[in-house]
């Protein structure tokens, strides 16, 4: 047996519970969820509607606060942060990919990808160069001036992926990234996410209810009624 300790996980989710108040009553969504996510992991969270998978993703991404428990990402406890600190933390550490892309309709693909960099101290030229690089990486170097209405669903999601990676975040969270796409586009997006994980070592957490999409991830966890199942490895 080796005496060396296992590497510290990127994300520690410690006894996290979450409930919402509906009509004065607390409706539990997550109950005592406790698990780690390793750096460089590509994890798919699966579960039926209302299982709490998106809530868990939102908590990990700092979009929402747990009712109890701690979430430590890269040694930072984000559960106790105020809104302003969380905004700064998200800008520096999280890349978002949404089901419906959430691109700004009035901005071009390049301007959309540049958005997260507006919060950095980079010059306009540097921002542009990085955004172009990100767009090249997702195969859209020839669509930089196109606005979202001029792009297909698959292209829109690739722009969103470029936006998610442009600031080189610690973690990429993807909420149903293939949910609004046809099979071919979905395959392209999944291949792209896999490449980001394998080639660039990006840690990705993907929420999906699509079995096929979940199989693209390295590991899968199921959530049901707020409770988490054991980790299932897809491949070694």
């Amino acid at each position: 047996m080796s005496g060396s300790a296992a590497p510290a996980p990127l994300i520690r989710i410690e006894h996290v519970s979450k409930h919402y108040l509906r009509g004065g009553e607390a409706v539990p969504v997550l109950a005592d969820v406790h698990f780690d996510i390793a750096r460089g992991e590509y994890l798919a969270l699966m579960g039926p509607s209302g299982s709490g998978k998106s809530t868990l993703l939102n908590l990990i991404a700092g979009l929402d606060q747990p009712s109890s428990g701690r979430i430590v990402v890269d040694d930072t406890d984000i559960a106790g942060m105020n809104e302003r600190s969380l905004a700064d933390w998200r800008a520096a550490n999280i890349g978002f990919i949404f089901q419906f892309y959430n691109l700004m309709p009035v901005l071009s693909a390049l301007e959309n990808v540049e958005l997260p960099l507006q919060l950095t101290r980079l010059s306009a030229r540097e921002r542009r160069e990085r955004a172009l690089t990100a767009l090249s990486l997702v195969g859209l170097a020839d669509r930089v001036k196109h606005t979202p209405r001029e792009l297909s669903g698959g292209q829109l999601q690739r722009v969103a992926i470029a936006r998610a990676i442009v600031s080189d975040p610690t973690l990429i969270v993807a909420d149903e990234p293939t949910g609004d796409l046809d099979r071919k586009s979905a395959e392209e997006v999944l291949a792209l996410l896999l490449r980001l994980n394998q080639s660039l070592g990006k840690t990705i957490i993907m929420v999906t209810h699509d079995q096929h999409a979940a199989q693209a991830a390295r590991a899968v966890r199921h959530l049901d009624k707020g409770e988490l199942s054991a980790l299932v490895e897809n491949r070694a």
Binding site: D64, R84, A87, R90, F98, N102, V106, L107, A124
Partner: protein, 387 residues
């Protein structure tokens, strides 16, 4: 960041072109109406604004309709601080039709134009006026209104000074400034006095007002007191005031109308403010998911609010520009039809500043509530509205 906010502000209104266009049209009309009503108010004060601070006006203390003796002229001239004296009577005749109203004053010809240099008369025309006892001088706009030329005979039926009069147009004066009233008609006081002496001997040698020139505007109050003190306990006690105060006393008579116009102009702004606020609220509601996305990416609530304010300001700036540009031509068109009522109908710089201020106020107030809502968008709830 500023460039990004501007980009959003300029492009977002194009997403709903018809709505933006209608809002812009409403805003433009409101700013235009606000400017025109402001111009009406300015026109009301044009006489007072054009008044010289080196001129005093003396009238009978009882009322303007009561005359003063001509003999007061020399006594006023002798008062310390007085540099010049002229006198005049309101003639108030009818040219062809009562609707052809214009101010007609019988003036002492030499001293009047010396005291009121902003009425510019060519020297040869002034010579003709001084030579011809039935002579008259008309303002440029008035002459243009009735198509008068030098040498024309102008028949006027006297009302206060009853009788048929026929004046010879000897000159046409031009205003020294664009704000000078060019709609007046001057006849000779000595000619009118001569006719009055023949017809109504008891009314001759009386004066409606004295126009007094003073050396130093700072002495206006002192000189006015000296004049009034000179005629205290006489049969015709006087009230002397600055020319501006004299003009403002006429405005005060119609103060309620002026106030009503002011109120209406602000009501217009209030109405369009509500329309604009509704437009901004709709726009902000439709963009809830976008604001949530921006906040998710790390943009601060203040930046999101700035997007709403910037869009509101962009719309209002476009409307203000259009409204202000239209105000000048519209004022000219209206002024040409109302020149008998408002001889000076010009858009004052203060009116333009007020239009800009009103547009800024609309932008601020209209954006306030939507911006607050945008700031408070809960990310998770906002993101659910996407798709």
């Amino acid at each position: 960041m500023l460039a990004l906010i501007l980009r959003f502000a300029l492009r977002n209104p194009l997403r709903h072109r018809l709505r933006s266009l209608l809002t812009l049209a409403g805003l433009t009309i409101a700013i235009l109406a606000f400017g025109l009503l402001g111009t009406v108010v300015s026109a009301w004060y044009a006489g007072a604004n054009a008044a010289s601070d080196k001129r005093l006006v003396t009238r009978n203390a009882i009322s303007l309709t009561f005359p003063m003796p001509l003999a007061y002229a020399e006594r006023i001239r002798a008062i310390e601080g007085v540099t010049d004296v002229s006198w005049e009577n309101w003639f108030g005749g009818v040219y062809k039709e009562p609707s052809n109203f214009f101010p007609q004053m019988a003036v002492e010809p030499t001293s009047f134009f010396r005291l009121v240099p902003e009425f510019r008369v060519k020297p040869e025309e002034m010579q003709n006026f001084l030579r011809e006892r039935r002579g008259a001088i008309a303002g440029r706009k008035l002459a243009a209104r009735f198509g008068w030329k030098i040498g024309d005979l102008i028949p006027i039926k006297g009302t206060i000074f009853a009788g048929d009069y026929e004046f010879i147009l000897c000159g046409i004066y031009e205003g020294a400034r664009s704000s000078t009233d060019e709609g007046q008609f001057f006849l000779r006081w000595d000619y009118l006095n001569e006719r009055t002496r023949q017809l109504f001997p008891g009314r001759s040698d009386s004066v409606g007002i004295y126009l007094i020139g003073i050396a130093d505007a700072r002495d206006a109050a002192v000189v006015a007191q000296r004049v009034d003190r000179s005629f205290a306990n006489s049969l015709a006690e006087t009230l002397t005031e600055t020319e501006k105060a004299f003009q403002l006393s006429f405005v005060a008579m119609t103060g309620t109308i002026v106030n009503a116009i002011r109120i209406v102009s602000w009501v217009i702004i209030l109405i369009i403010m509500a329309v604009m606020a509704n437009t901004m609220a709709m726009a902000a509601r439709e963009r809830t998911a976008e604001y949530a996305t921006l906040k998710a990416l790390g943009f601060r609530p203040g930046t999101v609010a700035a997007l709403v304010y910037a869009e509101s300001f962009a719309l209002c700036a476009a409307a203000a520009t259009a409204g202000i540009l239209l105000t000048g031509p519209a004022a000219r068109a209206i002024g040409s039809r109302l020149d008998n009522l408002f001889p000076v109908f010009q858009v004052a710089p203060e009116t333009i500043l007020m239009q800009i201020a009103a547009a800024a106020l609309i932008a601020c107030v209209a954006a306030a509530l939507p911006a607050r809502q945008a700031m408070r968008v809960k990310i998770v709830e906002g993101l659910r509205q996407a798709g």
